[in-house]
């Protein structure tokens, strides 16, 4: 049976991308799978009775070692801020390539807590910082020191002891450039080292509460129950900084979406589904409901989405239990056709994710194809013609070409880099200053301009001659030739329009990270939880890939 990949003009709309959920392809799950047989060690743990000091954790296999160096420092209440503009944090971390020497640790003790204004070297791979969720952290320490476990209900409302506010990699602030490490097999998947850092940080938070509690009351203190630990993750506040990333990396975006679409296509092509596989699908589906019912958010926008997801999911479960038989031919294709017909986008994408669960053989080979060699697509094929480029736009940007940019509301916003923290921000071009310094992220608008200009040019002209007279369109000409080869490289929407919601872009990226329970705090930032329910480092070797549905919360 021939099944086509889904149409990019539908899938790449923001409302659809903003409905994506974690799956077996997600980076935090693929990270745990890749490092399953690595040797975990806590190499150093020198904290004082208040929990301040240095710790080092490592993962080792053969001659390769990755070490997380943690610096926990005292922070006054009025200095604690989750905003990216903060300058001090409860703890700061860097992932070191190899085994750090004492001199390395001393050098990093000065630089790492400074974060963006510190200088790292090519020996360091990622950098981050985190703040305590003070209420939860103190509650846990207090109870453990009295010999009691903390209140699970209280913990489940937050889900973590610490939250990070940024995780940096790929050459930022002097960190190692990607080219130095990209050929290492264990980091073929995207963001592997960022995931490793966060995973180690999670373990540090458990070790730190246990340590403080013990020093507070050495005779009575107990350690945090492993089941409770497992159900705590690491929080993260994520803002606009993440949104332009997916526009600035079209090849990477394509590779992520293409992996997902290829997995779906291949699953729909399975003629007969084995009972063990359909059972696993149904089990994950039912278990996952707990992740929806325990999804806490005050955001009305998200509450509506959760409610619609919950209703649709129940409708779907009723359908597969009463009206559907996996014994027929192409059952997953039939399921897909039914959900497209009967359910909303949020639930369609939720079920697509869960369809992957039984199929390691389909999903695993795709994981290594989710990184990108962006250099390969950088040069513009300038021997091509104006007519060819016009056709590419008509085929790959048809949704964008429908937008009328002479209307003020379609041109309302602009993206810029803030002076104080060099972070991407968005503003209203008709109310705020600075639109002359706009970043080149208004792809829909620029594609329209390119199309108009091409329409006035001679069809047989070559692109080198076109560019000689239109260098203001060069960035978007480059993108169009990328989109010709990589159909999922562009978001088919206007990200400077009046009704544009950045949260959809953040959710897209975070779903690939493997995040659960998005909690939008406004339309510009959200809180998330990473690794909740994940195996602890000592349990990595025998962990089950479906851990994400085992959360107690």
């Amino acid at each position: 049976m021939e099944i086509e990949l889904r149409n990019p003009n539908i899938i790449m709309k923001l409302s659809r991308l903003g409905s994506f959920h974690q799956s077996k392809l997600s980076f935090l799950r693929s990270f745990l799978k890749e490092f399953k047989d690595w040797e975990y060690k806590r190499d150093l743990f020198e904290l004082n009775e208040s929990g301040y000091g240095t710790a080092v954790y490592s993962l080792k296999k053969d001659s390769r070692v990755y070490s997380l160096i943690c610096f926990a420092n005292e922070l006054k209440e009025n200095e604690r801020s989750d905003r990216v503009i903060a300058t001090k944090w409860d703890a700061a971390f860097t992932l070191y390539d190899g085994v750090p020497t004492k001199q390395d640790i001393e050098r990093l003790r000065v630089e790492v807590p400074q974060q963006e204004i510190g200088r790292l070297s090519y020996k360091e791979l990622t950098l981050s910082r985190a703040n305590k969720s003070v209420r939860i952290f103190d509650h846990v320490v207090e109870n453990l020191s009295k010999g009691k476990q903390p209140d699970i209900e209280l913990l489940s409302k937050v889900g973590y002891l610490y939250r990070t506010t940024a995780v940096y990699g790929s050459g930022k602030f002097g960190l190692a450039d990607r080219f130095r490490i990209k050929n290492r097999k264990e980091i073929y998947g995207p963001f592997r080292l960022e995931m490793m850092l966060v995973y180690f940080v999670r373990q540090f938070t458990f070790d730190q509460v246990n340590h403080i509690a013990k020093h507070k009351n050495p005779r009575k203190a107990v350690t945090l129950d492993l089941n409770i630990s497992r159900n705590l993750g690491i929080g993260n506040s994520t803002g606009l900084g993440m949104a332009p990333f997916i526009v600035n990396h079209p090849i990477l975006l394509n590779n992520w979406i293409l992996a997902r679409e290829t997995a779906l296509k291949n699953i729909r092509k399975i003629k007969f589904v084995e009972t063990k596989d359909s059972d696993l699908f149904k089990t994950c589906l039912k278990k996952s409901i707990k992740n929806i019912t325990s999804w806490n958010t005050n955001s009305e926008f998200q509450q509506k989405k959760i409610q619609s997801l919950f209703n649709d999911l129940n409708k779907f479960i009723q359908f597969i239990e009463s009206d559907f038989y996996f014994s027929g031919e192409f059952p997953f294709n039939n399921i897909y056709l039914w959900i497209e017909e009967n359910l909303g986008e949020e639930c369609i994408e939720y079920i697509v994710s869960i369809m992957m669960e039984p199929y390691d053989d389909i999903v695993n080979p795709l994981i290594n194809q989710m990184s990108a060699e962006e250099e390969k697509y950088f040069n513009i094929p300038t021997h091509r013609t104006v007519a060819e480029l016009k056709q590419i736009l008509e085929k790959n940007y048809s949704e964008m070409l429908k937008i009328n940019f002479s209307k003020k509301e379609n041109n309302q916003k602009f993206w810029f880099i803030s002076k104080n923290k060099e972070e991407p921000r968005m503003s209203d071009r008709f109310k705020e200053k600075g639109s002359e310094l706009e970043q080149p992220l208004a792809i829909a608008r620029d594609v329209n301009k390119l199309y108009e200009t091409l329409s006035r040019s001679k069809n047989s002209s070559t692109i080198d001659m076109f560019l000689a007279n239109n260098d203001d369109l060069r960035h978007v000409v480059r993108r169009a030739f990328v989109a010709e080869k990589l159909p999922y490289s562009e978001i088919q929407d206007n990200i400077i329009g009046h009704s544009f919601i950045p949260i959809d872009m953040l959710r897209l990226k975070l779903s690939f990270f493997g995040v659960l329970k998005f909690d939008p705090r406004s339309d510009k930032w959200l809180r998330i939880n990473m690794f909740q329910g994940a195996p602890l480092p000592d349990e990595l070797k025998n962990h089950k890939d479906q851990w994400i549905y085992n959360s107690l919360n």
């Binding site: 050459g171 450039d177 950088f378 203001d472």
Partner: protein, 203 residues
């Protein structure tokens, strides 16, 4: 030490601030990264050029010919380089391309290096007395070993080198003969059962 990623980002943003379009700035970012990776003073030259550009005009060379001579102002290395890169396929049949008066020619060099990769030919770039052999954008051989700013190259030539061997047929045969000493003579019975065995030419 600055990472190449930082070098690329800052060069791109600075180029935008210097007035170039975003697409050109992307080229400059990649190019300065390339220069610094090859150990050539990209940041130093870019900085000085942008500083000079505030006070002085430069000419944008949009169409590359076999011989290019500026009319009033020295050529902008960035626009000249972009034009060369874009048009290199149509210039591929020339033996040599000549320019008179390119400002800050080290900023022009990475465009030529990338052009070498696009057409699959080595290019010999001469900036007055400084020579650079650009090998398919993989590496650069040069007699320029100073970490200095070159403000102008009065005569710039690019020689498009044909893909020829760097050795004689005699030298090749000598080495080939030595390599033959790793071969084993096949017996007649093995020859009879090798690929194609049993077929006749008339099958």
């Amino acid at each position: 030490m600055k990472s190449l990623s930082e070098i690329e980002t800052v060069s791109k943003r600075a180029s935008r601030a210097a007035g170039y379009s975003w697409g050109i700035c992307e080229e400059v970012g990649k190019n300065i990264r390339l220069l610094e990776m090859f150990g050539l003073p990209g940041i130093k030259n870019l900085n000085d050029y942008f500083d000079k550009k505030k006070k002085q005009k430069f000419e944008n060379l949009k169409l590359i010919n076999a011989e290019n001579k500026y009319s009033k102002f020295q050529y902008c290395p960035i626009i000249s380089g972009t034009s060369l890169l874009d048009q290199i396929k149509s210039l591929n049949n020339l033996n040599e391309i000549k320019f008179e008066g390119i400002a800050y020619p080290l900023l022009f060099l990475p465009f030529v290096s990338r052009a070498s990769e696009i057409i699959g030919k080595r290019l010999l770039l001469k900036l007055d007395s400084n020579e650079f052999l650009l090998n398919f954008n993989n590496n650069i051989f040069s007699n320029f070993i100073n970490d200095e700013i070159i403000i102008i190259a009065n005569i710039v030539t690019i020689r498009l080198l044909e893909n020829t061997d760097s050795f004689s047929e005699k030298e090749w045969n000598q080495l080939y003969k030595l390599s033959e000493e790793t071969f084993v003579e096949e017996s007649d019975s093995l020859k009879e059962t090798a690929a194609g065995a049993g077929l006749t030419d008339n099958d």
